[in-house]
């Protein structure tokens, strides 16, 4: 399980980084670092909570989406609306990937 969670984390970081880069189009290394930090802080505990305590996929995704939008706003010094849109797009992409990955 740990291995599959690690793979899921790496895939999520890569995918969310791609989404951020597609929107922002500069400082790729910084975006990769932010994507790695944000997803490590949110996705690892979320997967644990989902698999062991609270199996509510959509609700957890919404909480992660809101948390990540807040962190993106602070890290990118972006307006909250833009951070919301970035976070929503990135999380929609990764949520769909996670469904494909686990089906």
């Amino acid at each position: 399980m740990l291995f599959s969670n690690l793979i899921a984390l790496i895939l999520t970081v890569v995918l969310e980084f791609s989404v951020l880069l597609a929107f922002i189009r500069k400082a790729p290394l910084k975006l990769l670092l932010y994507s790695l930090l944000i997803n490590t802080a949110t996705q690892v505990p979320a997967l644990y909570i989902y698999q062991n305590l609270w199996p509510r996929f959509i609700l957890l995704e919404i909480i992660i989406f809101l948390l990540e939008s807040f962190l993106l706003m602070l890290l990118l010094a972006a307006k909250y609306r833009k951070a919301l849109l970035l976070s929503f797009t990135a999380n929609l992409a990764t949520a769909m990937l996670s469904l494909i990955f686990f089906i």
């Binding site: 490590t40 989902y50 698999q51 199996p55 609306r81 990955f101």
Partner: protein, 206 residues
């Protein structure tokens, strides 16, 4: 903003039903094999017992050695019928109609659900649920769950009794965790949060 709301609504509309309705495993879940066994069929030699599952499982006569597995989205139950009233040809011919039209069928309130899906972290591999017929008359078949046998990945089994209402206890054996579990699950996010806070504080100072 209006466009974004439309995109959000459409995305949710596409995404949500697939989670709720589709025949899929959502992340963090897995399927395991489970079956239902009736242990005292031979105590009722004057009756034939039938399983019936809609819309997928189908129907059939339950034999004493059977351990019945059902499709996860089917609703499955058991009927009894007096031996002299049972006609196998009629069952084969009428199929679903047999269960809807036959007044001699004796219904039960048993629901034979598959024990699945479960958390992907679980080490359970098989579940066998045991039922016991408590009585049968012309109106009702009374049947209750009496125990469950959990089998784990390492081959060990656990046999637990159901409570008087037929509720099954959950498996007792806890999932074994790797030594890497706590550093990865709690340490990594903590380190990430600390670095994020440092970056944000540095940005604010500038």
């Amino acid at each position: 903003m209006k466009n974004k709301i439309i995109i959000l609504a459409v995305s949710i509309a596409i995404f949500l039903p697939s989670l709720v309705l589709a025949d899929l495993l959502i992340p963090g879940q897995k399927s395991i094999s489970s079956c239902h066994r009736i242990v005292n069929l031979s105590d009722y030699p004057d009756h034939v017992f039938l399983f019936y599952g809609r819309p997928v499982t189908g129907f059939g006569v339950i034999e004493p050695d059977d351990c019945l597995s059902f499709y996860k989205l089917s609703q499955n139950t058991i009927y009894a019928i007096a031996k002299e009233d049972f006609d196998q040809n009629e069952l084969d011919t009428k199929q679903d109609l047999y269960f809807q039209e036959n007044p001699k069928l004796i219904p039960s309130d048993a629901e034979l659900d598959p024990y699945s899906p479960i958390s992907s972290g679980s080490t359970l591999t098989d579940v066998e649920i045991t039922w016991e017929i408590k009585g049968v008359d012309t109106e009702k078949l009374e049947i209750k769950k009496t125990k469950v046998i959990y089998t784990y990945k390492d081959g060990t089994t656990e046999e637990l009794q159901a409570d008087p209402d037929g509720n099954l206890p959950p498996p007792l054996k806890k999932q074994e965790k790797s030594w890497l579990f706590f550093p990865l699950v709690f340490g990594l996010p903590l380190v990430a949060i600390i670095i994020i806070v440092i970056i944000i504080l540095k940005k604010r100072k500038k």
